[in-house]
Amino acid sequence: MNRLAGLARDPKIVIGSAITLLVVLLGVLGPLLAPHGEFDIVGRPFTHEGSFLGTDYLGQDVLSRVLYGGRSILLMSILATALGMVVGVTYGVLAAYAGGWVDELLMRTNDVLLAFPQILVALLVLSAVRQPSWWVIVLFVGLAHAPRVARVARGVALTYVRRDFVAAAQAVGEKRWRIVATELGPNLVVPLLAEAGLRLTYSIGLIAGIGFLGFAADPGAADWGQMTNENRLGLLVQPWGVLAPVLVIALFTIGTNLIADALGSHAAQGDS
C-alpha cells in the first residue's frame, strides 16, 4: 500500500497522467466539441477558412478533424497494447516458471521473432493485406509487441520464481496455475505496468506511422495518423493540417512515457 501511495505522489506520474488523460478526453469527447462535421467542406483546401486551424487537403475543417480523429487511433493503440501484454506475459511467465528445456525452447523461438523490427512486421503484413481492417492492424501491432513483452516478463518472473514464498507455496501443494496467478502475479504488477506504458507509447507511434505511410484502415476518415499523410503536400502553405495531429500524438506519447518511466523506477526500487 505504501508503494501505491508513493506512486500517486510522484510528479512524473501526476504530470504524465494529466497529459494522457487530457489527450484521451480530447479523443473521446472531441466529436461533441467539434464546430463542424468530420467530412464537412468548410472552405477552399489549405486555406485559413473554417475554424482557427484552417482547412485540409479537401477543404475540411482541421480542428474538427483533429477532434474526430482520436477515437479510432486511441482505441486501436489500447487494444493492441492489451493484446501484446496478455500474449507476451503469458508466454514469458510460462517460460520462466517451466524452466529447463521448455524455457530454452520458448525463449529461442522468441529470439527468432525478435529478429523482426516492428515496422518490418507491419510492412510485411501490409504487403499481403493492402487495405487492412482496423482489427488486422490491432492484431499485428499487438503480436509485434508480444515477443518484446515476453522477454521482459520472463526476466521479471525469473527473479521471483526462485524466491522462498514460491517454494513454500509449492511445498504446501498449491496447484501450479494458482501459484502463478496468486503468488507471482502481484509481484509482477508494477514492472509490467511500466512495460504496458512503454508499449502504449510505441503502439500509438506505430499505428500513427502506418497511417502516415498511407495504409490506413479507413481512408478518408479523420485519424491523427492518416491526417499527417493526407495533408503533407500542404505543409508549406498550411502546416496546421499536419502539425495539429502531430502535436497531439507527441503530447500523448510524452504523457504515457512519463508514466512508464516513473513506474519503471518504482519497480527497480521495490526490487532492492
Partner: protein
Amino acid sequence: MSTAASHAATPAPSPEPDRRDTAQGRSAGRAWTRWILKRLGLAVLTLWVVSLIVFVATSALGDPVRAILGKDFAVSPERVAQIRAAMHLDESLPQRYWIWLSGLLRGDLGTSIANGVPVSELIGAKVANSAFLVLVVTLIMVPLSLGLAILAARHRGGPIDNAIQVVTLALAGVPEFVTGILLVSLLSTSVFHILPAVTVLPAGAMVWQRPLGLILPVATLVIAVVPYLARILRSTLVETMDSDYVELARLKGIPERLVLRRHALPNTLVPTVQVSALQLAWLVGGVVLVEYLFNFPGIGAALVDAVRNGDFPVVQALAMVIAAVYIVVNLVADALSILLTPRARTEMVA
C-alpha cells in the same frame, strides 16, 4: 580465404582472454570458438526461419499477379498466364520457396516486378545510402549521449541535470516521424527556411554528395536514439559515483573531475556498447518512416514503395537485408559485452 585450412587447424585467434590469463589460454580460446560457433549457428537458424516467414507473408498471402496487372487482371488472361509462368507461380509453394532460397544463397535476389530490373541492382545504391545514414547517426549518437550523461552526472541535482533529464525523458517516447515533421515545419517551412525538406538527388548521385539534404534525416534519427542512451549512461554514471570504490578514490584526495574520468567513466563502457547496439538495431527499422518522410533514397523508402506496388521480390530482399543486419548487430553486441565484462568472461571459460 585460401588460408582457411590452416586457420581451421589452430583455434580461432581470440583476442582478450588469451592475453590476460595465459594459464587458461587454450581453454579460453576453445570456449570462445564454441560460443561463437553456437551463436553463429543460432543466427543462421534464425535467418532461415525469418526467410520462411518473409516468404509466406509475401507470396502465400497475396496474389502478386493481381497486384502487378491491376485493372488489366480481368481482361487479359494470357498476360496473367505469362507472368505466372515467369514467376513460377504454378509450382507448389515449397518449390517456389526453394527456387527463391537457392537464388538468395547464390546472391540472386530475383527481378523486380515493377520495372524488370534485377533486385540487387535496384537496391544496391539504396543499401549504401541507408548504411551511410545509420553510420553518421551512430557516430553522432555515442559521443553526444556520453557528453550529455557526463554533463548531467557532474551537475547532479542541479538545473542542468534537471533540464537534460526532462528533455530526454520527453523526447524518448515521441515517434521518430513526429519529431521529423516537427523539425521540417520548424526548419524548412514556416518558421525558418534554411534546410531542404526533402532529399533531392540527381540520377546516379549518392546521398553524401549532397550533405545539406542529410541534416534533417540525421537530426531526426539522432533525436530518436540519443535520449534513451543518454539516460541509461547518466544513471550508470551516477550509480558508480555513489559506489564505495569511487568514494575511496575521493577520500584519497583525487579531484572530482579525475574521479569521473578515471574511475566512473570506464564503468559505462559495457552499457554504452550494449545500448548503442540496441539503438543501432532499432535504427535499421527506424529508418523506414524517416526515409519516407524526407524522400531519402534508402532501403526504408524503397521498402514502402515496394509494399505499395506489390513488388514482392523487392519486399522479400529488403526484409531479409533488414533482418540480417538486425541479427548481426545483436550478435556483435553480445560478443562485445562478454569481452568487456571480466566477470562474464571468466564465467564463460569456466
